[in-house]
Symmetry: C2
Subunit: 557 residues, 2 copies
């Protein structure tokens, strides 16, 4: 592939590609062009530096240009922006930002690792002072100094994606009032709404003013902060506004160079990460990837995939023919006291594709403990699995204080390796009381999902139950509470009938076999056992309230 590789962009994708390429080829000339002042920094740490969880700014800067030169013999030029690619000449036009000088740089192989940039939609007032995006080290410095010098009392975060949520948390950590404004009815779009709802509850507990289903109409700068006018008519005033409503690929260069892009501006690459020009590779946020589960084309801007792509790209430049097999979108985010993590596709996406639950796919939600319940510190862990009729794994989501990332990692690995629901039953995971249960939550997810496929259990979700309970005519079903007397005193679903699990076999004749029976308990295990008793005694239409009342209550917090 010739002996000079020019890499545009020097952070996750770019720096990693350079490092690996050098290890594969000691003689290759490698040049990184970076328009920013910094290379190889920890984008993902920026919110935590603002929140003071990370104390040292230097901790964010993993490599300097000098270190890259010394250790990797890579020529790094920061504050040098690639302004044009000329594929026919195999050169890049570069602007040295300090001087304005323009020069041309030849390449044998070019790597585009230009990443993405925050979206700033044309909302009136969006360029006002006090409205920030968080993407780079200078962005971070600006926000950090604003907090330390301006001493803002009220902040608004626009957008409830993971960066928005991390910022909400880190601003609260600085004791700043936070409003989080999100156009959708939920934060964390990769989660399904009922899973996101668990986060909502916790955010409100952490004093976030959570504004869902409302968009920004305009920003109005005043003496006393910026007024954010919302579509609903409501308004919020803030001294500091963080805009984090998504990103767009930095593919202007690629477009001008005539490389094939998708309709969102993502650079299209083949499985070896080559663009439509065989001498130009592209990696990271700027490329279109294959959705690993659906095999459709999509954009998934995450650091893990960017790093993996960079390494594969370097290997291919060094002569290999390695394939990048698509992105699952495995991710985790700390949201106050909780961790939300997921992999694969969610139910919303399947629905939007016209798929129908129970027909084309299934899903289960279970309520487990992070580790053995009898060992101190066990906390609730809610897991959702979405799977196909043949037990194919489509996606998984987890929300909990502890152990959510672990279970999603296991599920992500299982999905990557083509596992099915029945494989989840068999996974042999490490068990000792501080870490898990003899039946790990992932096994449990496999058990429950396989039970659904085998017709041993059928679930009803909280929303579906609510819809039923709102019907004027309610004599074709019975809601059956199988908890103990004490529990029923604390909480009951209105109109439900009560038979504790332990009495059910003796009191079956109190129930009408011709009716649909919806059983509930606290988490779903006793009600599942009750359902099995009912089904074993001639009841033919029995459903279990998914996740039990613990989950139901969170849906109505």
């Amino acid at each position: 592939m010739g002996n000079k590789t020019v890499i545009i962009g020097g952070v996750a994708g770019g720096a990693t590609a350079a490092a690996r390429l050098r290890r594969r080829d000691e003689d290759m000339e490698i040049l990184i062009l970076e328009r920013g002042e910094y290379i190889s920094y920890a984008n993902c740490g920026l919110p935590y530096y603002i929140g003071d969880a990370i104390k040292e700014r230097d901790a964010l800067l993993l490599q300097t240009p000098q270190a890259m030169k010394d250790k990797f013999n890579v020529d790094v030029r920061v504050l040098n922006e690639a302004v044009r690619i000329m594929p026919e000449k195999k050169t890049v036009k570069v602007r040295e930002l300090t001087s304005g000088r323009i020069y041309e740089e030849a390449y044998d192989t070019l790597v585009l690792a230009t990443g993405s940039s925050p979206i700033k939609p044309p909302i009136p007032g969006i360029d006002g002072a006090g409205i920030h995006t968080l993407w780079t080290v200078p962005d971070t410095d600006a926000i950090k100094s604003l907090i330390h010098e301006g001493n803002p009392k009220r902040a608004a975060v626009i957008g409830g994606g993971f960066i928005g949520l991390e910022m909400a948390e880190n601003l609260r950590a600085q004791n700043i009032q936070v409003s989080l404004i999100e156009m959708q009815d939920q934060v964390m779009a990769p989660l399904d709404p009922e899973m996101a709802q668990l986060l909502h509850e916790n955010m409100v507990m952490n004093q976030v003013d959570l504004i869902l289903g409302d968009g920004v109409r305009s920003f109005e700068e005043t003496q006393n902060g910026t007024i954010i006018h919302l579509s609903s008519g409501r308004s919020v005033t803030a001294d500091l506004i963080i805009l984090s409503i998504g990103v767009k690929p930095n593919s202007g260069l690629a477009k001008e160079a005539g490389l094939r892009l998708n309709e969102k501006g993502g650079i299209q690459v083949n499985s070896e990460l080559r663009t439509s020009d065989p001498d130009i590779y592209a990696v990271g946020d700027v490329i279109e990837v294959e959705n690993f589960t659906l095999k459709t084309k999509t954009m998934i801007p995450l650091a893990g995939p960017a790093n993996k792509q960079a390494r594969i790209c370097a290997d291919n430049i060094a002569g290999d023919h390695k394939a990048y097999d698509g992105t699952q979108g495995t991710s985790a985010a700390q949201v106050f006291d909780l961790t939300a993590a997921c992999t694969g596709v969610n139910e919303k996406t399947l629905r939007a594709m016209g798929k129908e639950k129970g027909q084309d796919y299934h899903s289960v939600i279970i309520n487990q403990k992070s580790h053995a319940g009898y060992y101190p510190g066990a906390t609730p862990l809610i897991l959702k699995l979405i799977f196909g009729n043949q037990g194919e794994l489509f996606g998984a989501q987890a929300v909990g204080q502890d152990g959510a990332d672990k279970r999603i990692d296991v599920l992500a690995a299982a999905m990557r390796l083509g596992a099915s629901v029945s494989d989840l039953e068999k996974l042999e995971l490490a068990y000792a009381p501080p870490y898990s249960s003899a039946k790990d939550p992932v096994n449990m997810l496999g058990f429950v999902a396989q039970n659904v496929l085998d017709g041993l259990v059928s679930f009803i979700g909280p929303a579906e139950l609510d819809a039923l309970l709102e019907k004027p005519q309610q004599d074709d079903f019975i809601v059956l509470d199988v908890t103990e007397d004490m529990e029923r005193l604390v909480f009951q679903i209105p109109g439900s009938y009560h038979i504790p699990l332990g009495q059910l076999r003796d009191r079956l004749d109190e129930l009408d076999k011709t009716k649909r029976i919806i059983v509930y308990c606290a988490v779903g295990v006793r009600s599942y056992n009750a359902a099995r008793i009912l089904m074993g005694n001639g009841f033919s239409d029995v459903q279990v309230l998914e996740g039990g009342t613990a989950f139901y209550k969170s849906m109505h917090y």
Copy 2:
């Protein structure tokens, strides 16, 4: 399979089989015979109840016979010991322990879930007062009350398996001096010695008097505690002695009934968990299983496998033909500040089978952080992977303060699903700073292992290096330190030559190309980069010190 199932043993395997069988078959008559006073208890929690981490004794008792009756319609008879199986008559002879009455119970299907019992070898004095094993609730009560009433100052734990280590920790938590005596040169037999060494270091830091490579010759009861005489001549005096040197299957009944056993007394079962008598199943500690990796027969007494086997067994009794696919031995244990976890086979086992490293198998040890290094709380995590020439995964081990169980779970899942080293490179795991790095330690293990297979790097272990350094003649190799000046001031390997990584390319002529070069740094990453530089510049015999000096120092703590 008829309509009466008798289950002998009512804890992990027995109670789980009964519960699942009931859910599969509402009409089956199910009877559990349990010789102890308790069923369905958390064996694995017992050490933590002794250490007061678990405060409530009740938390250990998951189900009572009454609850099993009420919820599962299972007839549970505690203090009823099965004393004989008569397969020809399909009956069991039972002794009611309270009365001594003997009666016979018929079965259509019998399940043996009799578990295992602690080994008590015929050491002189072993039946002395003050010498305890920890296996059941009464054992626990005895030890607990001894601690509270006898106020022992000095304890000795004989055996460094996971129960021994958990007991050492929990006794220290009660502020009791602890000697841990282990015949082998290492604790935690499933780990390889160099990984166990990390635990040794930490145990000593936690004031455990660690006595390795020494066995008990006799116990001598005196006025002033029990004197433990060791093979080495050394002796230890203790007020409380916990014997945890392993278990043997409770297969006496099975043997008498003529069921096929292996030479260790394990009941042999087919893949559907049927014994040599087709009406008798067996599950849990009492059975022989297939080693999932080696496909050899073995005994692996763990709660996760017992639970899984029980569920499969119940399904098969209900008419399915499900297979149990063998046991990996995935496990985790908290050992003071560290977690040790592993899955699959270790290097010792491969060696004992006559396999040779570099020929028949490979192994790598890496030193990673539990999560992103720039985010607070990241702690070192040492991972070992053992793999074959084609990248087949044989086993993995992890030791660290945090995140060891997660990585072993991912690796265990990968192994179960037939993944190879190159699959580990591709796993897409959740990354946000509090949870992991953009290249998760599991990915990193894949990268490093694949680099070994591809000849990009070659390692030397600390022990091998020590052997070299002890040779009188040392002019055929150079130990090269590529750390920074400051680091070298703090630690250096005697006789090593120093060139910081950043200067290496400029100072290559200081090194002799004809010699073997052994490169080291703190964790192995810089030295790997140095090795790539050397190999790219005509050095043909370059090795990296595995795990760097961090690991090397632990080997010499």
